[in-house]
Structure formats: structure tokens, C-alpha cells
Symmetry: C2
Subunit: 365 residues, 2 copies
């Protein structure tokens, strides 16, 4: 498969998608003129499976890798683990020419990327995403960061990777729940940018759920292309890039109030995208039939589309939304869809409508 | 006094130097089209003296400032205080359009700048340096960061301020030791870039030590000009900018082994610059008379030029130097002077020479 190129001037890089690039990481890094020392940051789930091949490939190519293992899960994306990584980098004397390899899902990529962005004021890094969500979303585009108790991704940087290696073989060991959660970001690309792609997902959902490699490879590549096109036009999110946050205002708030434990990110944004579709119907006239197609596709993926909240939780959810990075002068700004494949960003929503949609997140309403 | 302009394309900014700009911060910020909410980060020494006027000026200009006070001293430049600042920014709902004002010395500027560089992936910030060292060095150029237990400034970012306000009145409350420590960076500019400026410092040292405002204003402005010229040519330190680190390899290592408590930064780099001058004599033929002029000028400022180390401390010092950010492929690179006003960066030094110079840091040797 041809690599997807991310054209960002001096910071351009390639995304390799296929069966097996993980074991070629050493050769690929050799082409990038990086220093000898490097650190592979991975988590307790992924490291036992994939780090031996990755370390061996790096050593065979003449690098001196040091493995850093962090806990797994969204709660690991915190400053405490950033500090632990820094301490290990210092004790293994990583230098400015050294580089960091992120081996794992979105949590590892965001955490390792933030460490790379800030250690010695920035060292090179390579993304090796092993989950569907990380391959189609978080590993591309240079957003890195960690959570605060007050909210998700409130701390971070823009730091582009030098290389992204998406190994489709990694899906072989990906738990079903994680795989399905990744589909929430895949579907998002159809809604925000590419109606025919949305139709394809409706049609090929069976193949995807069976993890047919060929279909998956094409879908991952299309998602990376869309993200690349969007990021290429607006690297630091002064405008267009905001469309990638469709469904994320409610989604992030749900994750925050459940302390990042209850929902996977993909599950939270599935609920968030259904909420955003309902807001879109009220504000931009998205047809009710399309709201239902969106809801149904998430549902067929086995993703949640509703959530039962107590009145206290509703209040907390609305408060958490106000901490969203997209808040401007105290007003929450939404990404809303006019039709499938076309969205507008920076959309204010009347408080009454927002409350009503939050009330209707419950399965019975 | 005319502002010094820092020309960095879209990230250009002005440095205002004079008597009283601190109380005009609100008006100056109004010109920058920033959001309403802001945080003033200061320390326990500076906040009681200057924050009332700063907060009042910001409020009078229509801003909503929130004061965050951190402990004073180099040990405050740590991730724990970064975390404490993040938490306060989140609880006061700072937004992407909000900004951070750093009010204090180099520690506050570096810490607040790193918080600004990473909170919400970067918000605007304004530097209000209240020490000589911060006015001539750390507030200009965009380097921000914090220390790790393993070394100084090992974590950080490049994040340019939107505005720098150097208030010469602030020297009225600056403790003598802090003021003299600032002169170590002032003298550095003469050594690395401007021999006539070095001669002026030798001549006008009395006026400077008496803190004569007119002389001080001219000296601060010349230092800012030199730093601006160097940073303008090499913002992210791929080459020339490294000359600003003259004396810093030994200086940072001294600070690290004394756990940032014993020496002020200026004191450590006074010792470091004398060591670097001696290395320069051996490696690049800097005349012995100039080594002595350098030593003498620091000495006349009341700065230390030697340090008594036990054998164990010498070993630790050499190890700490190896953690310096300028280490490349395991080799420590020095900035060394050919003559007053002209230095070369990236200079390797034979281990035996380095050991001998470290041995001769002691006052009796």
C-alpha cells in the first residue's frame, strides 16, 4: 500500500499502512537521520506483545533503545506518568538527537508525544499505533497531551511525528471493545467530510466487524487521508481543524465526569456524536432521517448511543462542557452538521436546546 | 526609551524598558487583542510588592485577572508547581483566548511560560521581569521550562511572549545578591558578542552597582538587543543561539549538584564563565590577560569565581555535565572564546583538560 503523505513543509512525514511495518521500524528510522539512543514508550498491555519485535528491529538497525512501560488506560494519560517518563529519559541520558517511539493506542501516543514535545524542549518521535482509534485519529496530526483532573487534554502541545507506522496485524490482538470504539472515529470522518465514505461504512460494516484486512486497510488509509487534508489546511486549529471535534464536546465531558474510567473515548464520542446530530437537526436542519442513520450505524457497531444520567450528573456534565478547550468568552462552541459530509464549526447553541438534548441522552426519553 | 523589537515574523513582539511600565500593563495588553480572562503568576516575594498595581491596571483596562502565587527560588521551578498552576487555570476557566502574565524573576518567567506553552496546547503570555537577570536574559527569546531532579531546564518548550515589560523601578526592591547575580548575564553579552560593551562594563561598574537608572536602562537595552539579534538568527538553537550558553555547562552542573539551593543562577554561571575562559585559553588561545579581566570583572561585581569541591563533588559535577542538553553522541560541547566579543560553539574539550579545569575551580589551586 502506498504511504499517505502529510505535507507540512519542513515537518512533513509519511504514514505507512500495511501488514507488518511494526517489525521494520529500525530500517524506517534509519532513513530519518536520528541519533542512536531512543526510548520506546508502551503500556502494560501492548509492551509484552509487541515490544520484543520492535526493540529487536531497532537494535538490528544500530539503535540503542530503552523500553519505558506505563500503565494502560485513559487514567494513565496524566502528569504523574509524564514525570516518570522524564526521569527515565534523564537516567538513560537521552540527548537532543535521540528520539521517542510511541508503541500503543491513543493514550500512549498522546503521552509519549507530549513527553517528546517537552523533553529537552522537544525531541523527534515516531508513532506506532496499535489500535484502530490511534491509527485513524490520534497518531496523525501532531496533537499530543495529557488530561487534568478538571478535563481531558487540557495540557498539551502541537508536535508532529517524524513517521507513523500503522500495522494492520496489530488488530489481531485488539480486544473487541477497543476495536468497536475505534469505529466511532471512523464514522466521524464520513459525517464531517465524506458522505460516500459514510455510505461505504453502512455497506461494508460486516467486513469491518470481521476485521477483513483489505477492507480495513482501505478504511484506515481513507481516514488518514481525510485527517491529513484537514490538518494540512489548519495545523494549529485556528479554524477548519475544529471539525474533527464533532461529537467531542459532549464526549469529553462524559469522559471527565466519569473520571476517564467508565467509557472508552470512542464510546463517549459515539454518544456525543448522536447528541451533536440532534443539535444539528434543531440548529442547521439536518434531516431527521440522517440523525437516525447516524444513530443506527453507531448502534450496529455495538457502540452506546445513549446514557442514563442522574440530575446531579447532568449538572456536572454541563459544567464539564464549559471547561472544553473550544469555549470562547464563556460560550460553548459546537461542530454541527448541515448534511452528511458537511459540517460547520464555531456554532453557538441556545442553553435551553443544550439542556434538552442532554436530558434526551437517556435511553428512555 | 524606544522599545526593542524582536523580529520573529508572525511571532514578533516588543520589549518596553523604562521607569513605570509595570503599572501600564493593562493598557499595553489592550493593544494585543487578547481575551478578557487572564492569570498573573508571581512568587511569594514579588507578589506582595507588585501584584496590587498590576492587578489594578489589568482590571482598569477591562480584564479579569486571577492571581496565582508560587513559592520563590529555583527549587520552585518544578513540575509540582506546574501542576498547581494548571489546576488553578482550570478552576478559573481560562480559555484559549485567555493569557498569562509572568510577574517576577527568571524562575517565575520560565515556569509561567511553560504553563502558557502547554495549557490548552498554548495560550498567550506577557513577561514582566522584575530582576536584572530576567530583564536581560530569561524574559527574551522564548525559552521556557522547568527543572528535573536530574538537571536544570531539562523540560521545556519554545514559546515567545507577546510583550515584555522591563520596569527599571523594580530594581529598587531587588536584594543586593540578586542584583549582582544578574550582572553575570550582562557581562556574558560582552564576552560572547560585544567587546566595546565589555569595556563599558569595566568602566561603568560603579554606576551599575549604585543602580543608576540611566546607565542601567542603557545596559538592559543593549543586552536585550544582543539577545534579540542572536535569537532572531536562530530561534530554536540549531546553531548560533548556543553562544548564549557560554559558561552554562559548568554553571548548570554546579546548580544541579547543589540541588538548585546553594547558588543563584548568576553566581553559578560566574564560576562557569571563568572555567569556560580557562578552557578557551587552552583550546582557542584566549590571552591569559583576558582570562584575568573576565575573572576580575566578576570578582568586582561581588560574584564567586571559584568553588571548593570535595573529590566526590567533582565526580558528581562531571557526571551532571554529561546530562547537559548540549551533549551530542555522549560528548560535551562547549562555547569557547577566541577573544573578547567572539566565541565559537560546539567545541569538544579533551577529558584531561576538563578534569584539570574542574580541579582548578577551587580557590587555592
Amino acid at each position: 500500500m502506498q504511504p499517505v503523505n502529510v505535507p507540512l513543509g519542513a515537518r512533513s512525514y509519511a504514514i505507512h499502512i500495511g501488514k507488518g511495518p511494526l517489525a521494520r521500524v529500525g530500517q524506517e528510522c534509519r532513513k530519518l537521520a536520528l541519533g542512536r539512543r531512543c526510548a520506546v514508550i508502551s503500556d502494560r498491555n501492548v509492551a509484552p506483545i509487541y515490544s520484543p519485535a520492535v526493540l529487536q528491529s531497532l537494535r538490528a538497525a544500530g539503535f540503542e533503545p530503552h523500553l519505558i512501560v506505563v500503565p494502560a488506560g485513559e487514567t494513565a494519560k496524566c502528569l504523574k506518568n509524564v514525570q516518570a517518563c522524564y526521569d527515565q529519559l534523564a537516567s538513560h541520558r537521552l540527548e537532543r538527537q535521540s528520539f521517542i517511539v510511541a508503541l500503543g493506542g491513543g493514550v500512549v501516543g498522546d503521552l509519549a508525544g507530549f513527553v517528546a514535545a517537552t523533553y529537552l524542549r522537544g525531541v523527534a518521535f515516531v508513532q506506532m499505533p496499535t489500535t484502530l482509534l490511534a491509527q485513524v485519529d490520534s497518531s496523525v496530526g501532531g496533537k499530543v497531551g495529557v488530561n487534568l483532573p478538571a478535563g481531558k487534554n487540557l495540557v498539551g502541545a502541537f508536535h508532529q511525528p517524524r513517521l507513523v507506522l500503522c500495522d494492520l496485524n496489530a488488530f489481531g490482538t485488539l480486544p473487541e471493545r477497543e476495536f468497536r470504539a475505534g469505529l466511532a472515529e471512523v464514522i466521524k470522518y464520513g459525517i464531517i467530510y465524506d458522505a460516500p465514505f459514510f455510505v461505504r461504512l453502512e455497506r461494508d460494516l460486516g467486513k469491518l466487524l470481521r476485521r477483513e484486512t483489505r477492507c480495513l486497510g482501505e478504511v484506515v488509509a481513507r481516514c488518514c487521508e481525510i485527517k491529513t487534508e484537514v490538518v494540512g489546511q489548519d495545523e494549529t486549529e485556528s479554524g477548519l481543524r475544529a471539525i474533527l471535534n464533532f461529537g467531542h464536546t459532549v464526549g469529553h465531558a462524559l469522559e471527565a465526569i466519569s473520571r476517564y474510567g467508565q467509557y472508552l473515548h470512542g464510546e463517549a464520542i459515539a454518544i456525543g456524536q448522536v447528541a451533536a446530530a440532534r443539535l444539528s437537526a434543531a440548529q442547521l436542519g439536518l434531516p431527521a432521517a440522517d440523525v437516525e442513520r447516524i444513530r443506527l450505524l453507531f448502534h450496529q457497531c455495538g457502540l452506546p448511543t445513549s446514557v442514563r444520567l442522574t440530575p446531579a450528573q447532568r449538572t456536572k456534565l454541563l459544567a464539564a462542557m464549559r471547561l472544553d478547550k473550544k469555549v470562547s468568552d464563556g460560550e460553548i462552541k459546537f461542530v454541527l452538521a448541515e448534511c452528511l459530509g458537511k459540517v460547520r464549526w464555531g456554532q453557538a447553541v441556545p442553553a435551553a436546546l443544550l439542556h434538552s438534548v442532554v436530558d434526551h441522552l437517556s435511553p428512555n426519553s
